[in-house]
């Protein structure tokens, strides 16, 4: 039996070191991209391999990992049943690095994405867990060079993003201090209320929940789409894991009757506001932000329906949601590259379908997928959540329905923009040869096929993550 290290070294410290090491290899692009892709994949696979009991029998050797490490006066711990989450996060990092060479947005993406993923893993397993707020601030700072690369001016979106994330930090930490004695104090109503308020506000700022969402569309409009889609996706999912962790740890919070109702209303409001605001948008790069906002709403709804299987739904939607963001990010990034236009206003997209038919179809499909249209990957789990809505309060269903309608209006406006060229261009566009290379065609065809296959066989995406919530024992029925 050998004991070569522990989970913290393998999934937090090692990726950090490797991230720094790979950053020196940027000049050798193929090696750099290869490593950026393979390292997270390997880490994800290893997390799956060790997820039984932290042991591995390989070539006659019995490898056992220890699960904790003391850092300063505290401990970091990743147990076997938490490795599913680790695997998920590294898989996400792998997925974005896979297509990064096509997006050509930032040469730092490979190494920084690895560091950021390692830090998000840290967020999940830091103890005391609310200290994770500081790590989240670090992640925010680390993502700045990716969101505002050299050569593009720093605009207000990035400033707003940084401000929101920084404001959240003290709220979360103070809530931790405030409620530290709640479990043992029977008459702590005022403390519970204050603590809940601070925690909720912290999450509202972190996730960009309505009405504090303004940084989201500003950020996606200003930043490279592929990079921002990765950062927002990993942030949303990690924060939803973190929210579950908070609920799992704080009995007083999860048993608060107002919490469930608040989460339902906040969730429905997010979906509603995202749909209504998105319906009027005229810039393609802002759209991912509204889908992100709506998805945050769906996540909160799932958490609110915890008592009737909401966590199961949340798990079912995880991978389809990631896939949806991935495809949307890819299609927006491809269009930006193809047009060599950083703004992507609807006006500049008119008649684009006739020049880039496959990319346009990919964009349409990715939007329909995230809206929750039947046949696409997100639908099977989204439908279950929609089914749960009328059980409760009718206005919630109405808000969600209006949100979905808003998204449909947005889709149709974009569809109309892309298929109808300007009058003066229509003849020319008919005769223009299509401008999509074979690699892109193959990639798009494969993605479309996958989107539909996952829409028809949703269990393919759900099966690998059935034990994802194993560590949240207090939340499981």
């Amino acid at each position: 039996m050998s004991n070569p290290g522990n989970t913290i070294v393998l999934w937090i410290l090692l990726p950090m070191v490797l991230s720094i090491a790979t950053s020196f290899l940027r000049r050798w692009k193929k090696i750099y991209h290869g490593l950026s892709m393979m390292i997270p994949l390997l880490l994800a696979v290893l997390a799956v391999v060790f997820s039984q009991n932290l042991t591995l029998n390989f070539a006659g050797r019995h490898i056992v990992l220890s699960d904790s490490m003391a850092v300063f006066d505290r401990t970091l711990q990743i147990t076997a049943n938490q490795l599913g989450m680790v695997s998920f996060l590294y898989f996400l990092c792998f997925a974005w690095n896979l297509l990064d060479p096509i997006s050509k947005e930032s040469q730092w993406f490979g190494s920084l994405s690895l560091s950021i993923t390692a830090l998000w893993v840290t967020v999940q397993f830091l103890n005391p867990f609310l200290y994770a707020a500081v790590v989240i601030e670090l992640i925010t700072l680390l993502s700045i060079p990716l969101l505002s690369p050299r050569g593009s001016p720093a605009k207000s979106g990035i400033i707003r993003y940084l401000s929101a994330q920084t404001l959240a930090l003290p709220l979360i930490l103070l809530s931790g201090w405030m409620v530290s004695g709640i479990e043992t104090s029977p008459s702590a109503e005022a403390l519970v209320l204050r603590g809940t308020l601070l925690l909720m506000l912290g999450f509202v700022l972190w996730l960009g929940i309505f009405p504090l969402h303004s940084w989201l569309p500003m950020l996606t409009e200003e930043s490279p789409p592929w990079t921002s889609s990765f950062l927002l996706t990993i942030m949303q999912l990690s924060l939803s894991f973190f929210l579950l962790k908070v609920l799992n740890q704080y009995g007083w919070l999860r048993n608060l009757p107002e919490l469930v109702l608040s989460l339902k209303w906040i969730g429905a409001l997010c979906i509603f506001s995202a749909g209504v605001i998105a319906a009027f948008q005229t810039n393609l790069k802002r759209l991912p932000a509204y889908f992100f906002l709506a998805e945050t709403g769906y996540i909160l709804l799932s958490v609110a329906f915890r008592g009737i299987g909401g966590l199961e739904i949340l798990r079912m939607t995880l991978l389809p949601r990631v896939f949806g963001y991935w495809v949307l990010g890819f299609s927006v990034s491809t269009l930006q590259q193809a047009l060599d236009d950083n703004t992507l206003d609807f006006d500049s997209l008119r008649g684009l379908f006739w020049r880039f038919p496959l990319t346009s179809v990919l964009l349409f499909s990715s939007l329909l997928n995230l809206i929750g249209a039947p046949l696409f990957a997100v639908f099977p789990a989204r439908r279950v959540l929609w089914n749960l809505l009328p059980v409760d309060v009718l206005p919630l269903s109405i808000l969600v329905a209006i949100g979905v309608l808003g998204m449909l209006i947005l889709f149709l406006r974009l569809f109309s923009t892309l298929v109808h060229p300007k009058q003066e261009d229509s003849q020319e566009l008919t005769e223009t040869p299509k401008k999509e290379g074979p690699v892109l065609i193959a990639a798009v065809a494969f993605i479309l096929l996958a989107m539909i296959v996952f829409g028809i066989f949703p269990d393919l995406l759900d099966d690998p993550f059935r034990q994802l919530w194993a560590s949240f024992q207090n939340l499981l029925p």
């Binding site: 207000s156 500003m218 006739w354 249209a373 046949l375 439908r383 009328p390």
Partner: protein
């Protein structure tokens, strides 16, 4: 097993055409493959009649969770006639396409016919709303993509977006309707439990059919005028009609006032469409009104508590409609063939549509009764009017087409007759004698008048022949403008623009220089609300 054979044969045919035509183009070979595949499927569909009803489970989503969702197909007496109808339409289109080779029909059109038929079969056989919603989406995507592929940027009409939008809306309405029923029965294996949300289901079907609210199916593109285009336009209606027909008899659990409003709207849609159908210049121009009018009959039947009766109007829409629309070129010598097709929807005793009167007419003669009979009569008159305008001669056709073209029409007639005799138990009924009698009487009077004034020859004589023509024409045109709902879309556009500016103003505030401070204000407001809520509880 036979169901799989039907799908398999159709899809195999499509794949074979794709491969063989890409490898070595040969139009005749592709046509033979298409017609053989479609014919095998068509014959198999009749054999299926012996095995009704049958369930075909496909898979179960989230089987290991508490949210198991089955996907399945089922064949029963409600959807089997539709299955036969659309397979007959496919065969008929392929046979009659032989007269339209010069109109840009290629082997890829036949590939599309086979594929679209197979996809529509899924939605017709869908055992539950979930399966139906998925198949609707699939059909709509294939439909829109083939439409975009067939058209060029300059040809594409502006209605394509609204038509696609309405289809999408209908699919989402179906999904939300299903969500509404979930609380009653989470295991949705069929349509039995949709009673409580029936109005949403009816609206989903109504939207797809163009009835609720009145919207005409998209038929602008020249490619859709003939042959397979007819199939593409009529087939999607079939599954919506199946959905209506699948509703339970006692399904009207919703607000009666609301149901009356819907009923009045449907009545207006039916009557208006019938008038428009009767007065259009060409059958192409009139085609959407045919779809809307007969769909409105189907919806009306459901609203009257007889969703089963909607089946015959749906079949009339598909079979008699295709018979008339595929009668192109309209050859005078074989005019009797589409004339026989009238059996499909005249509603005379012991004909296919006889059982439809039950759903259409109230028990006692009243205003609705009169309007419905009039509407029906107008539809028959319009049908006859378009038939009597046939002018082509058989000499214009290729030799093979002289056989295949009438054969295509005969296939449809034969299907009407088979369904008339053995479609489902109790198909042979007298129906409503006063209804069918009065409708027939009106048609005969119109025929006499038409023969006397020559309606069938040239509508340019209309102003001279109809008394108060100008007044009538003004009234109809105003009604047409009102019912075309163009004013609704204008109002929506204006509202959208106004809301856009409001949204832009809101965005400016939130994303402007003071945005962060606004955020802080919001934090304070939210905190106060939360604290006050907490204080109250």
């Amino acid at each position: 097993m036979l169901t799989y054979v039907i799908f398999g044969v159709l899809l195999l045919g499509a794949v074979l055409i794709l491969i063989t035509h890409s490898y070595k183009p040969n139009t005749a070979r592709s046509w033979v493959i298409a017609i053989v595949s479609a014919s095998i499927a068509w014959v198999a569909s009749f054999v299926l009649r012996l095995y009704l009803p049958a369930d075909i489970p496909l898979m179960t989503w989230h089987a290991e969770s508490s949210f198991a969702d089955p996907l399945a197909l089922a064949i029963d007496y409600i959807n089997w006639p539709f299955l036969v109808a659309i397979l007959s339409m496919a065969v008929a289109v392929l046979l009659t396409d032989t007269t339209r080779m010069e109109a840009g029909i290629t082997p890829y059109s036949w590939l599309r016919v086979l594929t679209i038929t197979a996809l529509n079969l899924i939605s017709i056989l869908a055992a539950n709303p979930l399966t139906m919603a998925i198949s609707w989406m699939l059909i709509d995507l294939v439909d829109i993509l083939s439409l975009l592929q067939l058209s060029s940027a300059s040809q594409l009409g502006s209605k394509i977006t609204s038509a696609f939008g309405i289809r999408l809306l209908s699919t989402f309405m179906l999904v939300f309707a299903t969500a509404n029923t979930w609380r009653i029965d989470p295991v949705q294996v069929g349509y039995a439990q949709i009673a409580n949300a029936s109005i949403y289901f009816l609206m989903a079907a109504g939207l797809r059919l163009g009835v609720l609210p009145l919207n005409l199916p998209f038929l602008d593109s020249p490619e859709l005028r003939r042959g397979s285009g007819i199939l593409f336009r009529l087939m999607p209606a079939a599954s919506a009609l199946v959905l209506i027909a699948q509703m339970q008899d006692e399904f009207l659990h919703f607000d009666k006032t609301f149901s009356t409003v819907v009923q009045v709207l449907t009545l207006i849609a039916a009557f208006y469409s019938a008038v428009m159908w009767m007065t259009r210049e060409s059958s192409f121009e009139a085609r959407p009104y045919w779809v809307v009018a007969l769909s409105a009959f189907a919806v009306q039947s459901a609203l009257n508590g007889h969703p089963g009766a909607s089946r015959v109007w749906g079949l009339g829409l598909l079979l008699s409609g295709s018979l008339l629309f595929l009668f192109d070129p309209p050859i005078r010598r074989i005019m009797f063939l589409p004339l026989i097709g009238l059996i499909g929807f005249t509603g005379l005793p012991y004909t296919l549509a006889a059982s439809g009167w039950q759903g259409l007419l109230p028990e006692w003669i009243n205003f609705t009764w009169v309007i419905m009979v009039l509407t029906h009569a107008f539809l028959v008159i319009g049908y006859l009017r378009f038939l009597f305008r046939s002018e082509s001669t058989v000499t214009g056709l290729e030799k093979y087409a002289r056989i295949t073209f009438p054969l295509g029409l005969v296939i449809l007639i034969q299907t009407i007759l088979v369904l008339n005799l053995a479609g489902w138990p109790g198909v042979l009924t007298t129906g409503s004698l006063p209804g069918s009698g009065i409708s027939l009487f009106i048609v005969l009077v119109a025929l006499v008048l038409g023969w006397k004034f020559g309606f069938d020859k040239a509508s340019t004589k209309l102003p001279q022949t109809i008394p108060f023509y100008r007044l009538l024409s003004l009234m109809i045109s105003s009604l047409r403008q009102f019912l075309s709902l163009a004013w609704v879309s204008t109002a929506f556009r204006k509202l959208f623009i106004a809301l856009s500016s409001l949204g832009a103003f809101f965005n400016q505030i939130i994303e402007g220089d003071g945005g962060v401070l606004w955020s802080l204000v919001f934090i304070v407001i939210l905190s106060i609300i939360f604290l006050s809520l907490g204080g109250r509880s």
